[in-house]
Amino acid sequence: MDSVGNIIVYFVVAIAIVVFSIKAVTTRKILRSATYLLFVLLSTAVIYFQLGYQFLGAVQIAVYAGGIMVLFVFAILLTHKPNDATGIIDSHRRAIGGTVAVAGGVLLLLALFFMPLLHGMSLTECIASGQQITMKEIGDAFTGSDRFQYLLPFEAISVLLLACIIGGVTIARKE
């Protein structure tokens, strides 16, 4: 039995995610769209916190909501004049897209509801049964090379990011 607080937080966040997701893809103003995305990301961060992954939530806010969104906003400002409404593709494409999206959503939701595995577990119990994830453990996980340790991907990510930096600079350079 989860606490009422948890449930309330969940509902607030879930409704926010649903509403802002829909808004993000239906609004005509691109800057608004970015803003709605920000809200979605923040709401997701809240869910991470609720699930007990504080570090992840922090990263989500810092990197996603902070870094990536800034990039978005900059890009939008660079490529748009003020009040520049972006067109949405013609209506039949929209209808098809809507159909596919709705069909896919319905299918997935049905699948979810018919999957017994997903029911009947409580969040509190899960958090309680799981171990507490401390920064130390995360640090160990990223710097070891044993089983369930991720030094190699970590390094790979660093190289990837480096490549991205160089690539980004190269691509965005004038001439």
Partner: protein, 648 residues
Amino acid sequence: MDITLPILILAIPITMFLVLGIGGVKMSRKLAGILGICGLGTTAVLAYIVALTYYFSGDANFIIDGVRQQYQVFDVTWLAFTQRLVVNIGFLLDPISALMLIVITTISFMVHLYSWGYMEHEPGFQRYYAFLSLFTFSMLGLVVATNIFQMYIFWELVGVSSYLLIGFFYKLPSAVSASKKAFIVTRFADLGFLIGILILSYYTETFNFVAMTNNPAAVLQEFGGATFMGASLLTWAMVLIFTGGMGKSAMLPLHIWLPDAMEGPTPVSALIHAATMVVAGVYLVARMFPVYCVVDASLTFVCYVGAATAFYAAVVACAQIDIKRVLAFSTISQIAFMMVSLGCAYDLPIEGVHYSGLGYMAGMFHLFTHAMFKALLFLGAGALIHAVHSNNYTAMGGLRKYMPITHWTFLIGCLAIAGIWPFAGFFSKDEMLAAMFNRHWFWGAWMMMVAGLTAFYMFRLYFLVFWWEENPHYKEHKPHDAPWQMSLPLIILAAVSFCCGWIDFGQFVTWNGVPYHIHIEWVKVAIPSLIVAICGIALATRMYMKKNDLPTKVKNFWPTLWEAAHRRFYWDEIYMFITHKIIFGIICKSIAWFDRHVIDATMDAFATITQKASYAIRGMQSGSIQAYVLWYFFGAIILAAITWLCLI
């Protein structure tokens, strides 16, 4: 016998051909002419030595107990189809091949000599001698063949040399088309020959003449009563082989090439289209004679074809204005005579007497005499053409005063072919008619009528050329006798035509090698045929000796017939229609159309459909990521739905 001479007989002409053919361009005319004549002279001498040795030496190889033998001087493997079916190239000496050696080399030598004068100013003189040598080589190879396949090989070579020589004046479209026609018609006949050989050799498993002819009964047995469409296979085989002979010997209905072949130089006509190549068909039948005898249906076929051709050609010859064509039709008619004679020759007892092979001997005799006098006539015609530069008798007339040598020799030739005693034709024709009467009175009577026609049209020609009235053109351009190179062969051949009938031919050539003494049946055959011939001559004399209007009257009596005979009863038109309209126009054109518009179009259609289809679906490769994602999710959803349905 030593094999050097026979090998040389074949080797010298082919060497001459290669030497003159390859080196001829660099040679002077004189050198080429001398080389050609000397080469052929040597060949002739060697051939005479071989032939006379065969006839007179009494060697055990050649004659045993008075029976002449077939002797293979050499016989080497050329190509082995299977273990047993082996093609050899060899040299067979027997009465008829020795005879042919003499005939061919004699005529060929005369023609070589004659051509030196006749062709003197023609371009391509060297080439001409090269072709003559090639022809002589092929013809010699043909007659000495030890097996039917060797004969076929040389048969084809003869055809090609004939093609080359007819088309010698290759700048003239008429010569080109005549040579083409000659080759294709004979080739068509050779197809029959080939199929005949295929059938025959399949059963006998040999090509060898000696093996087949010495035991024709065994050949019949090997066929074992196999039949096809009601006739025995052996009959089919022999008839098909005879078809080859029909082509070469210009029998109805494959005769159409021979008159056109007169487009070639006249000496060539004398050599190939009168004396040697065209009798190859007769020679072929004679060669396979014992086998023909065991299937008399095929021999009867020979008879019918010969009789029809002889009459047809004689009628047509009466209505020609080109002197060479008259001679050509006369050749056809005379060869048909030989064919009928062979056809009537098989072993048939009449009133207890076996007249076995009389017709065979007579046919060969006539082949011999005809070669001589027909060559004479052609060479004479050549001299006339040389003098007046035209082939048509309308450009001639009254030439006897201007060209005495030609006149007298030509007259001898005409008398010989008409069968007047004591000229050569009389003896051979008498024997042939005797053989035909032995078979059935119908054949004798029919052919006697043809003999009368022969006398008529030959003397028609003779009078129109040498008598009738003098052509006015002679004043501007006075005709004269030919130079000695041309006159000498005329005189020699005239002499031979005059006296060669007195040879006791039966001593040399009979179907089974047993000598036979010719005796002339004066009452039953000779005198009637003489009377018929003289009637023919008399009629010709009445109509054509002096200029009068009787010929025109006769012509106008039934103009359609005259026109039809003049146009050779429209055989050429019929062939033209079949070949051009039907074969070319319908079959070939439609096949070619079918190929382009059906087969090829189908293949193209595969390509076009592929291309169209890819154009049609390339719109899906729009480059729009959104569209891809759309399709991707669409597919994913469908797959998911399917999976899910399956799981439920």
